[in-house]
Amino acid sequence: MKDVSTTEAAYRDLSDEELMQRLVYQDVGAFRALYARYGNLVYSVALRVVRDPHVAEDMAQEIFFRIWRKPDSYAATRGKFPTWLTSVTRNRAVDEIRSRNRRFRHETASPEEQEREFAGPDNIDPAMRAEVSDQRRLIMLALETLPMEQRQTIELAYFGGLTQQEIAERLNQPLGTVKTRIRLGMQKLRVALTPKLKWESST
């Protein structure tokens, strides 16, 4: 069912789910459109975790090969495609750094570094779809409402792949403090992201 008459512009109008359906029939045009839409995002998530451009490149390549070869690994019931895609990327990247026996160092980021890591709205890729940009804006605004220490702890867990115990050792804080920071921070995030979460689960 390869539709060779489909133009590049026509692919741009297709939803993520429609593009993924076309991958079942090895539609390279659909795959190219997906990469154009999310290549930078996947690479950036991998880079955020592994902090090595070459490894991030390998990770991004692996993720895209995986969706090319197994497009049915995504189902709309798993939430919106970009959230699923970036979560898969993050999980794979964390597995990678853990398998390397934590040879990658995830030092505590300074406030200035954190500002760069959690990019502000001005830093959004203009080529990214408006829908994803809106999601990003909402998430970044939610993160900005958190106290620095809560944000830092969540970041070390999610992007650094560290356990609560490891974070406590890294920050030289009691384990109970780390647990509290994670719980309070995530609770605030969940409240701030409630509209987004309802939208995700309604799809």
Binding site: Y35, L47, W68, G79, R136, Y158, F159, M186
Partner: protein, 274 residues
């Protein structure tokens, strides 16, 4: 079994992947049987999943996209996947709805459901076939590359270890040609090796082609692109009915080479006959 309250306290850390292995196992064992905690866990995972969208966007290297797309193109089957005729397509004659009763309509409903199932199975089958083809293709490529490398090594060994091997220069045909080549041939193994140095890099779309002449005619042996002006080409000549009489190199423009030289000899030498 741990209490719900305790599990719920762990769910945010679980969603972030920040629990120790034992805690993770406990949470997973509990939520498998607890709807309330399972719902809480799902919400926590959705919130955690959104964090990935917060990263600063960096531009991926251009080569990454090129590599990913070109690999996908290579793995694409050259033959379009055609869906088989559906359930109703198997009937050669149309069925008149007007002639049917309520029971027939029910049969149609069942048939449509079956049709959907058949379509789903066909789509699943097509996806599995595509994946299988991609993996088979990659394995075949890898096997072919390995076999080619082994065969090359065998020829190099056969020629270099043959005390009776002949070796001579393959000379430029004119003074304006850069580069030179040497040819070593093992009469016992009927295998040869051409080694060249100083060859000019060619414009895009062009390649060097190696030929052997015998009483039967001119035989295409290999095409190659020199690396830093150098090449190493191995040849098996056992299939020739008569001994090679000359060896030469041309430049060609057709990927994979031609059956006959289309340009003048760049390098050429007759092979001394005993």
């Amino acid at each position: 079994m741990i209490e719900n309250e305790h599990v719920i306290e762990l769910l945010d850390a679980y969603a972030l992947g920040a629990l120790e292995e034992a805690e993770t196992n406990s949470v997973e064992a509990h939520v498998a049987d607890c709807v309330e905690c399972w719902n809480e866990m799902t919400t926590a995972q959705e919130a955690a999943g959104l964090l990935s969208l917060s990263v600063a966007i960096h531009e991926a290297p251009a080569r990454l996209g090129e590599r990913i797309i070109s690999t996908a193109q290579r793995e694409t089957s050259p033959v379009p996947i055609e869906r088989r005729r559906g359930f109703w397509g198997r009937f050669s004659r149309p069925i008149g709805i007007g002639a049917m009763g309520v029971a027939s309509v029910a049969v149609i409903a069942v048939g449509l459901t079956m049709q959907q199932q058949v379509d789903d199975l066909e789509a699943e089958n097509a996806a599995l076939n595509a994946e299988l083809r991609a993996e088979t293709f990659a394995l075949e490529q890898e096997l072919a590359d390995t076999e080619a490398r082994v065969a090359e090594q065998e020829i190099l060994f056969a020629v270099s270890s043959d005390e009776n091997a002949q070796e001579f220069a393959v000379a430029p045909r004119s003074g304006s040609v850069e580069g030179s080549a040497s040819y070593a041939y093992s009469p016992d193994a009927r295998q040869g090796v051409v080694e060249c140095i100083g060859l000019e890099p060619l414009p895009p779309g062009m390649l060097y082609q190696l030929w052997v002449e015998s009483d039967e005619g001119t035989h295409p042996m290999a095409t190659f692109q020199p690396v830093d002006g150098e090449c190493l080409v191995t040849m098996s000549l056992g299939y020739l009915e008569s001994a090679p009489t000359a060896i030469g190199i041309t430049t060609e423009m057709i990927p994979g080479g031609l059956d006959e030289p289309s340009t003048p000899w760049l390098l050429y030498s007759e092979i001394p006959q005993d």
